[in-house]
Symmetry: C2
Subunit: 141 residues, 2 copies
DNA sequence: CTCCGACGTGCTACTGTGTTGCACGTCTTG
DNA sequence: CAAGACGTGCAACACAGTAGCACGTCGGAG
């Protein structure tokens, strides 16, 4: 929203020597501004106010951002992907999924170390920790 | 497949004082026989050999099994639920998702203890650990 | 500057997973 | 047996995500 997040988005794309298109910087700006992982639908709704971006284009832009390392793709409990802008500490943190409002939060404070004992001939690639519960916005009182 | 798993399935349902219908025990039998979490599509394909069960009925039977505590419902990385028969140790273990063949395995050997530091007013309900990689069946040599 | 190819966007249509509503059949209980 | 609850099947739908194609735009070669 602010000039700051917009410029951050544009420069982040420009630094990769990639085309700074409207769809790209507006999408990345939305992720920067949110500060928490957003679903495709949430991003689309947020962008709709000042000119909608095509549904499919948004999917492709999001995948492009992930491929260029500007965003992360995480799974939601509702079987919809969430996308978050890549900040400083990007790996190894858990995600909190609110079972009431569906929002997802990054728990960067938790840096778990897993001790793994996989069966033979299993090859490990990646691990994820996800928590469920209700967020502060959804508490009764 | 064997008489054993079939009888196990039937008695497990009967012990709850619920109707032992064909759809129920055949579904539960399939879960017992598999020994690993199965997707709806996998179960449907497995049952098709000796008489298909309606797609929707299978969804409802699976939810019923989960509700009666006879099965567990876990998330796959491909946005499809997996269902596994409830054995002895049912909680707190991680799941391994093969990125090549899509199969899911229970890692009952890993009993993680998470130390959580949630933000204020966040209410914890449940945690899950999921691993990605390639399973033994999918190793190159 | 102009042309041309690569790239980005938008539209339509499709797949796969899961759900809802309704009709019909079956079981069970009085 | 009658009545109601329950289980199953069918059709239609909702939603997330993908594929194919056409069009436009950008940017470099000539």
């Amino acid at each position: 929203m602010t000039q700051t997040t917009r410029e951050r988005a544009k420069t982040a794309i420009a630094e990769l020597d990639e085309r700074v298109t409207e769809a790209r910087w507006r999408t990345l700006e939305a992720l920067f501004a949110a500060g928490r992982p957003l679903s495709h639908a949430e991003i689309e709704a947020g962008l709709a106010a000042d000119g909608a971006i095509d549904r499919v284009t948004l999917y492709r832009v999001l995948d492009w951002l992930v491929g260029r390392g500007l965003a992360h793709k995480i799974e939601g409990h509702d079987r919809a992907w969430r996308f978050s802008a890549v900040g400083n500490d990007t790996h190894g943190h858990a995600h909190f999924h609110c079972t009431r409002c569906g929002k997802v939060y990054c728990l960067t404070a938790i840096q778990p170390t897993l001790v793994l004992a996989l069966p033979p001939r299993f090859h490990f690639e990646e691990a994820g920790i996800s928590l469920r519960g209700t967020c502060a916005d959804c508490q009764p009182h």
